[in-house]
């Protein structure tokens, strides 16, 4: 599904973010990427989303080299990836319904589908009563659930969650992890980055540990060990 092939990323000559990273993620896997700050987790995510280009090496998504795509092909690809960020990144001028609908509109979906699917995903993240609220009226946990709803509404192949629990309290963290597990159970590949030990231990799936831009450990059912 995702394949990193000896990927390196240098921002400047003396700032190496990734060095010779290789790994594969199979369909329907739940992979956690852990490591201290500055270990290259966020760079890894940015490479998958084609926000950054690798200095050397290639990143494949379903057999296509992400960084050779551009324009409409890249947009098509991005619609197959759902992204969740630590800082939520909802559109502040749109209410919850419109935030989720935007992802569907961007993918060129019909009005009828939008009317049907948005309430459905809101149900899934347990927020049907907040559809007409604006982001600034929601708590952190609620915002993150909206972000997840937006990420899954186009039925993506992959969900990328970049420290989705970083700004949340333990209760909300637990909720978010449960939702991600549910999504994975429904057949979507999930890539999660975090440095929350509790989260990793409670998931009990594959863990890739990063340090100083390298993969130092890859456990099929890992714990958070540093």
């Amino acid at each position: 599904m995702i394949s990193f092939n000896n990927v390196s990323k240098k921002y400047t000559d003396n700032s190496v973010a990734l060095e010779g990273v290789s790994f594969d993620v199979s369909p329907n896997e739940f992979v956690s990427i852990v490591g201290p700050s500055g270990s290259g987790k966020t760079t890894l995510i940015k490479l998958i989303l084609a926000e950054e280009k690798p200095t050397s090496g290639k990143v494949y998504l379903r057999d296509s080299d992400i960084h050779s795509l551009s324009g409409e092909d890249l947009n098509q690809l991005r619609r197959k990836i759902g992204v969740v960020f630590q800082d939520f990144r909802l559109l502040p001028n749109k209410n919850v319904f419109e935030n989720i609908a935007f992802a569907m509109e961007a993918a060129g979906r019909e009005e009828g589908e939008i009317e049907a699917d948005v309430p459905h995903v809101l149900e899934l993240v347990d927020l049907p009563h907040k559809a007409w609220n604006f982001p600034h009226e929601l708590s952190g946990g609620e915002k993150q659930r909206v972000a997840i709803a937006r990420a899954i509404v186009n039925q993506p192949d992959i969900i990328i969650a970049d420290e989705p629990t970083g700004n949340l309290d333990p209760m909300n963290t637990y909720d978010i992890v449960q939702i991600l597990k549910k999504i994975n159970d429904l057949g979507t590949t999930v890539v999660l980055t975090t440095h929350n030990k509790g989260v990793i231990d409670s998931i009990g799936r594959r863990v890739i540990t990063m340090q100083e831009g390298r993969v130092v450990r890859d456990d099929p059912s890992g714990k958070y060990i540093l």
Partner: protein, 312 residues
């Protein structure tokens, strides 16, 4: 799963998003509209200033004419002969014949509050004023030719003595000087106004840029969700057009009382141009120019501003 929506649906969504965004980001919109009003007012002022200078120059040019004064002893036949000969010149637009009686009547009218002059005239008994021909040329540059024609020795003389007096040259110097002053002040003010227009456009551009800078993260998110560039750009451009539209309408309304208030002043100060009636009689052209400028500036600034953040 890749459902292709029609262009019409997309357009409707983009329009709606831009429209809604205009109202939801109220203060940012207000600031942008206010700045835009300043720009459009400068453009409107340029139009009005231009009109004032042009009519003033035009009026002044019309003030140039050639008057031929005849001695009191000239016979009417001689005068009419000369008029006929002048009318055959290609440069002459029209000639007004002012008879001695009419000249006297004009003189009395002009001095109706000046008892001493009227009394002096009374004492003379006879009409001391000669007849005159007032000649207008088709083009201001042609007066010299007419004056030269009248300057010929044998044009109309009796006993070797000219019976006419041509007043062209005295008038000409004064009017030339005035024309030159107005002409150069027109150039100067055009440059200053143009500079103001450019400055205010730059300010508007920056204001809209700042308004979109606030949304730079949003633009990034939209791209990561897979929205196409046009689909992201569209709503911002629509919002920019809304700024322009609202600002144009407010500017056009604002200029009604302003020109009404200034109308009397300009009418007295400059030669007969009331800018309020000028505004009303050219309302369609002015509305068109202001609306078009507003929309163009709004759309162009938004396009330029979004472009910076559309790089993912």
């Amino acid at each position: 799963m890749e459902a292709k929506t029609e262009f019409k649906t997309k357009l409707r969504r983009v329009m709606k998003a831009g429209f809604v965004n205009f109202f939801r980001s109220g203060y940012v919109s207000l600031a942008s509209v206010l700045v835009m009003i300043i720009t459009l007012s400068t453009i409107a002022s340029v139009i009005f200033m231009g009109a004032i200078f042009n009519t003033t120059l035009e009026e002044l040019r019309n003030k140039v004419d050639v008057n031929v004064y005849f001695l009191t002893s000239s016979s009417e036949q001689d005068i009419l002969d000369l008029q006929k000969r002048l009318e055959s010149l290609p440069e002459v637009a029209n000639i007004e014949y002012i008879s001695r009686e009419q000249a006297l009547a004009n003189f009395k009218l002009r001095h109706e509050n000046d008892q001493i002059t009227l009394q002096a005239l009374e004492e003379l008994g006879d009409n001391p004023l000669g007849a005159a021909l007032n000649i207008k040329a088709k083009e201001p540059s042609q007066y010299q030719g007419i004056a030269d024609f009248l300057g010929q020795d044998n044009i109309l003389s009796r006993d070797g003595e000219s019976i006419i007096k041509v007043n062209y040259l005295q008038n000409k110097t004064a009017i030339d000087r005035l024309t030159k002053i107005i002409d150069s002040s027109k150039t100067l003010s055009s440059v200053v106004m143009l500079l103001l227009v450019v400055i205010s456009i730059v300010i508007t551009l920056n204001t809209i840029r700042l308004a979109i800078y606030v949304s730079r993260e949003e633009i990034g998110v939209m791209q990561l969700v897979g929205a196409s560039k046009n689909y992201i750009r569209g709503p911002f451009v629509i919002t920019g057009i809304m700024y322009g539209l609202v600002a144009s309408i407010l500017t056009l309304i604002m200029f009604l009382p302003i020109t009404y208030w200034l109308g009397g002043v300009t009418e007295n100060f400059f030669i007969g141009l009331n800018i309020f009636s000028y505004y009303l009689s050219n309302i369609f052209q002015i509305t068109f120019i202001i609306l078009l400028s507003g929309i163009a500036i709004g759309a162009a600034s938004s396009l330029l501003a979004v472009r910076r953040y559309l790089k993912l």
